[in-house]
Amino acid sequence: MLLVLLPNLLVIGASFMTRDPSDFLSLPLTLDNYRRLMDPLYLQVFLHSLYMAAVTTVLCLLIGYPFAWALARVDKRWQTLLMFLLIVPFWTNSLVRTYAVKLLLASNGLINSALQSLGITEAPITMLYTEGAVIVGLVYLLLPFMILPLYAVFEDLRRELLLASHDLGAGRLATFFHVVLPLTLPGVIAGVLLVLLPAMGMFYVADVLGGAKNLLVGNVIKNQFLDARDWPFGAAASVLLTLAMAVLLLAHRLSRRRLGEEGET
């Protein structure tokens, strides 16, 4: 408990202080750090980071939703094995996996050599150190986090409901929008949270795959803390990230409550 609450207060406190070269922090309280966050330069980084995280989340959802559906309908015997295969990456070093992606995307990496030897492209395509590379890396690392909660809701989805909907004359699309989607929404929201939040903070992915231009909020925070030693500013940035998290968690809770009430009536 001590390890959680106190440091959080410290960071919030630090975010209001001014920078001091010798002491890291000094007293005159100020809103300057927050004002600097609104500086176009940083604002751009934040928006760009948010954009990459959002694209990652949408991609994970697009890939993960049908995947979880298909997975939940596979034979029970196979499901154990398939689930196991899904958890393996979760237990493997994420840095190593990021590096593996880099190995594939490099300009003299496997994808480019394959394309060239097949005669599809003449010169190597630049894939590394782009926005796309960061997004690919994030999707690759975070996809299981989207699939697991989705799989849980699809497993609970009863087949009888789909049959009933069909018997009542609903077409496939109508069944999907009126039955499947509302019932799996909690899984969707949980998955989005589990992907979106880490996607903004995983600075090493942006570092390894994105080069200097494609920064995440995590990179900004890390640079301010460890390289620039501007603690108050870094703290302000992380307070912003925490607030974003709090808002999302609150939305999650509210939506669950609403869905729960609907279920009872």
Partner: protein
């Protein structure tokens, strides 16, 4: 209903998930100075890895840290789960919420919070700070694993034990510990793996005196491709695969 379409899709996604890992493992046996040209099979990068003293030192450091972090967080986590499960006390809800917050909050926020705390209390960054930090983020996972196991426990067993005259300690030794054992082992393995895997938190709270493996890898892969990392990554992969299989076997056996 057609079944080939979902199956093909599942297969495709799995193929994509495993392609980079497969390439990594194959290339770790590559006998070529550059990371991407194939030059035949060899073990040279594994040899290079183990003849690198700083690297071996970092491996040992990481191993010790993971052992310690997993053990400490399993002990504290088990007690926390027991407390949450069996007793009513003030701040119970707060404790639950706090664990949830640790699990959900972005690692980086946890990292700077801990760094701020360590500097405030004047703790030298090194093994101790790393250990405390790792215990912090492993703890919720252990608590959840153990609590899930305790939830399945038939309360009548405990009542029966009390009726038969068993004290708190005897109940603990003869019922609770055996019941929790599979979850404790699984939680320990998960903590061990999480600790070995962590980059974000370690980046912030480690000091120059104690270099650990993920940070060493990080500094190696930031620029360019290094063949040694292929070998190291493959080793880590096999290692975590073994851990995962063990933990799954434990959980499966305990369900029977």
């Amino acid at each position: 209903m057609k079944t080939w379409l979902p199956r093909t899709y599942l297969f495709l996604v799995y193929a994509l998930l495993y392609l980079p890992i497969a390439v990594l493992v194959v290339y770790s046996f590559n006998d070529s100075r550059t990371a991407y040209r194939w030059g035949g099979w060899s073990l040279r990068w594994y040899e290079a890895l183990f003849s690198n003293h700083a690297m071996v030192q970092a491996m040992w450091n990481s191993l010790w840290l993971a052992l310690a972090a997993a053990t400490v967080s399993t002990l504290i986590g088990a007690l926390t789960a027991l407390a949450l499960q069996r007793y009513r006390f003030r701040g119970k809800k707060a404790l639950r919420g706090m664990l949830f917050v640790v699990m959900m909050s972005p690692e980086i926020v946890l990292a700077i919070s801990l760094l701020a705390l360590f500097l405030l209390i004047g703790l030298q960054l090194g093994f101790i700070s790393l250990l405390l930090a790792h215990v912090t983020f492993c703890l919720p996972f252990v608590v959840i694993t153990v609590a899930a196991r305790l939830n399945g426990l038939d309360q009548r067993l405990l009542e029966a034990a009390r009726d038969l005259g068993a004290g708190e300690f005897t109940t603990m030794r003869t019922i609770l510990v055996p019941v929790m054992m599979p979850a404790l082992l699984a939680g320990w393995l998960l903590g061990f793996t999480l600790s070995l895997d962590d980059v974000v938190v370690s980046t912030f709270v480690s000091g120059p005196s104690y270099e650990i493996l993920p940070l060493r890898i990080y500094s190696m892969v930031r620029v360019g491709l290094k063949p040694e990392v292929n070998a190291l990554g493959s080793l880590l992969l096999v290692f975590s695969l073994i851990m995962l299989v063990i933990s799954q076997l434990i959980l499966m056996r305990s369900k029977r």
